[in-house]
């Protein structure tokens, strides 16, 4: 090309190759995470279980609430996932009273206990947990489907 035998090729004019995208697209890069600047601004939560051996009192799950700013963790053992709302209520009342602040937002995965179950129509209906957050004016943040990495803080507790 430099000797002028071949014509120079103009690379600027190519269309976007959809086929290439279909074959080669990887997961989108994660954007930088936002860190809360005060306690209770963002609470991470996750449920883990069921464990094959029930614990001392027969609980098979645990639910964790982690404050994003301080990384202070609360952990509750529960019998079943449906108890998560009751546990969250008591957690909310306790911390809001102790710290004189209010929970601003809650980040969780899209588990049935948080967001609601899939029904036949293919849509996920908000469950009691999501409705309660709405009532209290707390902003729910959900991870995108199939990307547990966005809930990194809460999943961390699974040691």
């Amino acid at each position: 090309m430099s000797n002028g035998i071949l014509e120079s090729i103009d690379f600027t004019n190519f269309d976007v190759c959809v086929e290439c995208i279909k074959g080669k697209q990887t997961k989108a890069k994660r954007l930088g995470a936002y860190r809360a600047s005060d306690v209770l601004e963002l609470i991470h939560t996750d449920i883990c279980g069921p464990f094959p051996t029930p614990s001392w009192n027969g609980q098979q799950y645990f639910i964790s609430f982690i404050d994003d700013y301080s990384r202070y963790a609360y952990l509750f053992l529960i019998h079943e996932k449906s108890q998560s709302l009751d546990v969250f209520k008591s957690f909310k009342v306790e911390v809001e009273n102790q710290l004189n602040k209010r929970i601003k937002s809650v980040r969780s995965d899209r588990g049935g206990e948080y967001y609601g179950r899939y029904d036949g129509s293919g849509e996920q209906r908000p469950g009691p947990f999501a409705k309660y957050l709405e009532e209290c004016g707390i902003v729910p943040q959900y991870t995108m489907l199939g990307s547990p990495s966005m809930n990194g803080v809460a999943e961390m507790i699974r040691i």
């Binding site: 614990s55 301080s70 952990l75």
Partner: protein, 425 residues
């Protein structure tokens, strides 16, 4: 943490709580200070930290401790008290958890030993399976004949004969299961099971009950077993007084008391031996007048269909089934009407003509007894959070999360079906 210690896996909850407890008090990469400091506002203390699962001598709170009792319990440290200053300990002998502040920890010694964990598991599980041991012995014995057959080839008929022969010498060897199985087999081939059962059922009441049981109180007193009958009557009378079934009042004018009667029955166990003598005081319900002594007598029972539906559910979902019956069920019912009853014979206090029993609880023989018992049960069971089935009023259910329990009431027999392992009521 659990792997490092010798503690059972079921303590994972405590291990997790301890983990968060520690993580909240140590610095993290994600924040500038420890979580505890940011959350509470002051620096956490780490002085009280101990190695999780280490053996310890802990002194529990024992108000009734004697001078010579040992002060401490050998236990394992499993966490920090949530709302107070103290530690949680696990007692491996009693398998309990307790909290205390006073303890000596042995953290320096080596305590990792996986063998002990296995022991724990074995202990727990070996309790549950006594039955399969019998079948195992059976299998071992029955595995012998095929070896013999392999040695000498036989025809089909020979094979059967051979097996039967080998079973005969087995009989003295196997104590319990072998004779049971044999009798089943013989009976099936000879006479149908139904016939035998029917005969047995008929035999018992004819030979047993008709002979002994006195019909009137005079017969009971003249009976050779009179002492036992009188004792039984005393018992019944006492239980009625303990339950405050009636109060003695002078008979108001213009009121006719209803009569009462003693019933006697011998209770036998399955072998036909006399188990106990039972006397029961019943009211003469037939002397009750409608509108005065009773209004409604209708009482519900569960239908056969709903019973079968529940049994189908039990079979399908493999639920736990429990059966209970309520002792002296009818005595629990309260009655709305005022009923006067004459005092029971031989247990008269005061002037028998003037003093009568004013009933406060329903008693056997009253027309409304069954209905009142049902109402009482209904109220009590609703107060426990049970709900009535829409179709069959004698079927109750209770849902809590994914746990549920069904209850069928048939007069004083109760059937419980639940998907929990142990029904605590």
């Amino acid at each position: 943490m659990i792997c490092h210690s010798t503690l059972p896996e079921s303590l994972w909850g405590e291990a997790l709580k301890t983990t968060t407890y520690i993580l909240n008090r140590v610095p993290t990469k994600a924040a500038t200070k420890t979580p505890y400091e940011l959350w509470i506002g002051r620096k956490p203390s780490l002085k009280h930290f101990h190695v999780w699962g280490c053996p310890a001598e802990a002194r529990p709170y024992k108000p009734n401790e004697k001078k010579l009792d040992s002060r401490t319990v050998s236990s394992y440290f499993i966490g920090y008290s949530e709302r107070s200053r103290g530690y949680k300990f696990y007692d491996p002998i009693l398998k309990t958890i307790f909290e205390t502040e006073t303890a000596t920890f042995f953290e320096d010694i080596e305590f990792g030993g996986k063998n002990q964990i296995r022991k724990f598991v074995l202990e727990e599980e070996s309790v549950i399976i006594p039955e399969p041991i019998q079948t195992i012995t059976f299998d071992e014995v029955s595995s012998e004949p095929p070896q013999n057959i392999a040695d000498e080839p036989h025809t089909q008929d020979d094979l059967v004969v051979h097996e039967e022969q080998t079973q005969d010498p087995q009989q003295p060897m196997l104590h319990e299961p072998a004779p049971l199985r044999r009798s089943m087999r013989e009976r099936r081939s000879a006479i149908s099971d139904d016939y035998v059962v029917f005969l047995q059922e008929n035999k018992d009441p004819n030979n047993g009950v008709m002979e002994d049981d006195p019909i009137t109180i005079h017969q009971a007193i003249q009976n050779p077993n009179s002492e036992k009958w009188i004792e039984a009557m005393r018992e019944e009378y006492k239980s009625m007084q303990d339950n405050k079934v009636w109060e003695l009042v002078p008979l108001p004018e213009g009121v006719k008391p209803i009569g009462c009667k003693w019933l006697f029955k011998t209770k036998r166990d399955s072998n036909g031996n006399v188990e106990r003598y039972k006397a029961r005081l019943v009211a003469k319900g037939f002397t009750q007048k409608e509108g005065i002594d009773f209004k409604e007598t209708f009482s519900l029972v569960s239908s056969k269909d709903s019973f079968r539906t529940i049994m189908a559910l039990v079979a399908n979902y493999d639920l736990e089934l429990h059966q209970m019956d309520v002792k002296t069920a009818f005595l629990n019912g309260d009655i709305d009407e005022t009923i006067y009853m004459v005092q029971p014979t031989n247990f008269v206090s005061g002037d028998p003509k003037n003093m009568v029993c004013k009933l406060t609880k329903s008693i056997y023989g009253l027309k409304q007894a069954s209905r009142q018992w049902y109402h009482k049960f209904h109220q009590v069971i609703l107060s426990f959070g049970f709900e009535m089935n829409l179709v069959d009023d004698c079927v109750y259910h209770k849902f809590k999360g994914s746990k549920f329990i069904f209850l069928i009431l048939y007069v004083d027999d109760i059937l419980l079906a639940t998907n929990r392992h142990i029904a605590r009521n």
